[in-house]
Symmetry: C2
Subunit: 416 residues, 2 copies
DNA sequence: ACAGTTTCCCGTAAATGC
DNA sequence: TGCATTTACGGGAAACTG
């Protein structure tokens, strides 16, 4: 329903009313898209039956922000629908809750743009949603309110990776509840701080963290300063000398994992982050047909390649296949690509050069359970037509190597 | 900009004012999508300089429709933006024009639905847009207006084929300018009438009409009545005994041609509409490797297959490949699929069984100019990676045939 | 001219209504 | 419940805007 995860369990914090017990609860920043619906759950942590259905809570976008933070130049948003709800008891009966749905925010006309060069990008703007209500208790007028943690507002899904970068950076660098100008003077992060968040991202999309080898390769790409700190601009906008945006690059890989490689990543079959030099070093001494999986370092949209080693006539070669992109893997999953991959050399010799996953696991042992047909039925076939399936082939530019171990790998083996 | 073609050159017809010369101009029905912009061009055919910038024209949706046609039960729409424009002289200076852009129509709340079973589907509802203006001339108050031909309003692109069916049917069956209730009692069409429209559709998307053989095959599918007429319900909703909707089926093929086969269709390389029996008959006597292209008769989304003949040991076999869908052809175009297609049999023998396009044109002569790389450069390759390309293979269920003509078709030939 | 940002819209999926 | 129709929204591209 919402663009990202739902913001649940925001606390309705009682201001200036110690009579009301309140509990800080899990809040998290969020990325919101204009003109799209999202949902916010809200809990009033004191369940006084007498309040039931008496508290009308209103959501306000960027309440008092101009006065509080003087963050001029930010865009202004408003909810287009009436954003009010009445608190009611929840299912377990322990508190009053309201779920805001169908909140739609849209930029209002006025926008005071500072023309100076230090203006932030839209994904660096931080906003808040504040929930306010007032009621009478013990003869007093009580005004209470609660705010979300900072929120980034985008207008197209293509801005989501940048927005998420801001969210991560904010979370790691500060525990302030509402420093909306953080990116006017962005703090730097130490590599231990940053690497932990990055590792969490992989845990989140692929149920497995980054290991030490992977992290040390990433450190090379992310840390430019000799002091071991990472600067916001270098992280989110592409550093000085390098022309790639490291976060966008990593973000593409996270998306690739989420969409096509979740199982393989979870099971640790993807080495992923290895330099080209390291690949050669790792594979050089291994037997012909040993291969490993590695993410492309140049493709900004997330791509994965396999590299394998061949020994012929005392000569050793390590090859890497043209990386598979998301649209490639939509056609057929990586395990099937590995199973069906075919190299061709002069004389009509065809074979699959991929035999053992590094260090020495038989390909079918490692990937067998993921092959098409192993957990699904065979493809539905239309009567009267010969079934076909897509495979990828490469025409080896090198002279024909002799078959490994003196045996030809049969190509006509049936798919499991 | 607009969903379909722009509606240009609508005539501003002068009503009750013979002083104003008016010219009937090309109007065409249109398919409009709610909440989407479209453009209408309007010409005032008398260029009286004195009118310049004095005529304010307003667009009205379904003006006077209820009184005129008593078509209750239709949805009601309104423009959400102010749909008024001032007429100005056009570039050639021969008339006054206005171009309406950003017209957005959205269903208004009220909708009187007749609950009887004869209710029309939304794509059978016909609507009109009327342009009105008034001015003073020769001391008289003049009210003039012009209307579009009937328009079908849809809410999602998936309704477009059905809507287009209505548009075609209307055009062929009547020359009345505004019979919005046509589908309450839809007229039938003779096969010559219908087949001509269908043929035009292929001319429109693929620059080539249907030939007599193709039409005679389609006649079998479309004409159910012995009297040779086609009924609207059987055309647009799937006839009595058959469970396929013939127009949607044909519509999918038209879309397939438009997106992936425009060149091949234009050049007549696709036989397309042939029955399975006819295929066997045609190919039976031809030499091994003769093939033809034919649309799937079962796939509703548009799919194309090739069938080829093989003679082995005095036995003749005709095979048809699993049809290629739009998403298949997005991966690699049909000519490349034909070039790279590979069949595999026991013993690791691989070959391409497609040699001659029916009746006996060498495959590369027929399709060579379309192969990838013939008019584009070779694929851009990332340095350090072995290029790969996708091909389709089939595992022949039959005993291994001997190579045709005693020669092995080399598979390692380089792509042109 | 250009880059950042938003709008537009197809196509698919989900929700809605009858 | 099932089907017809609408809404929602990701993704890519065009349009916008300073």
């Amino acid at each position: 329903q919402s663009l990202m995860t739902k913001l649940l369990s925001s606390a309705l914090v009682v201001e200036k009313q110690p009579v009301m017990a309140s509990m800080p609860s899990i809040q998290q920043p969020l990325v919101l898209k204009t003109k799209a619906n999202f949902t916010v759950g809200l809990r009033f942590l004191v369940n006084l039956e007498k309040f039931r259905c008496l508290l009308k809570v209103k959501a306000v976008f960027d309440k008092d922000v101009a006065e509080k933070t003087k963050t001029n130049g930010f865009r202004h948003f408003d909810f287009t629908k009436e954003p009010s709800k009445v608190l009611d008891v929840n299912v377990t009966g322990d508190c009053l809750v309201a779920e805001f749905t169908d909140l739609v925010n849209q930029e209002s006309k006025k926008r005071v743009r500072k023309s100076d060069e230090s203006a932030l990008t839209v994904t660096e703007e931080l906003h808040v949603i504040t929930f306010v209500t007032c009621f009478q208790h013990a003869g007093l007028d009580c005004h209470i309110q609660a705010s979300t943690l900072p929120v980034v507002v985008i207008s197209a899904t293509g801005q989501l990776p940048s927005a998420w970068a801001s969210v991560m950076w904010y979370n790691v660098s500060t525990s302030e509840p509402m420093n909306l100008s953080l990116f006017s003077d962005p703090p730097r992060l130490s590599w231990p701080e940053l690497s932990q968040v990055l590792s969490w991202q992989f845990l989140s999309v692929g149920k497995r963290r980054l290991d030490d080898n992977q992290l040390s390769m990433l450190r090379e790409k992310f840390v430019e300063d000799p002091d071991g700190f990472v600067h916001w601009n270098s992280f989110s906008k592409g550093g000085c000398q390098k022309n790639v945006n490291v976060w966008l690059w990593l973000s593409g890989i996270l998306d690739l994992i989420k969409k096509h490689l979740a199982d393989l990543w979870r099971d640790g079959l993807i080495m992923g982050f290895v330099s080209r030099e390291k690949i050669k070093e790792l594979l050089w001494e291994k037997k012909t047909g040993t291969f490993l999986l590695r993410f492309s370092e140049t493709n900004q949209d997330g791509a994965i390649s396999y590299s394998w080693v061949e020994h012929h006539n005392g000569e050793t070669q390590v090859h890497s296949i043209e990386p598979y992109t998301k649209s490639d893997l939509e056609k057929s999953p990586l395990p099937d690509e590995i199973y069906d991959f075919t190299s061709r050399v002069h004389g009509n010799v065809t074979r699959n050069p991929l035999l053992y996953l590094y260090p020495d696991v038989d390909k079918d042992v490692a990937f067998g359970r993921y092959y098409y047909g192993s957990d699904k039925q065979t493809l539905p076939r239309v009567w009267g037509y010969l079934p076909r399936r897509p495979i990828n082939v490469t025409d080896m530019p090198t002279p024909p190597p002799s078959p490994p171990h003196g045996q030809q790998v049969p190509l006509d083996a049936q798919h499991p």
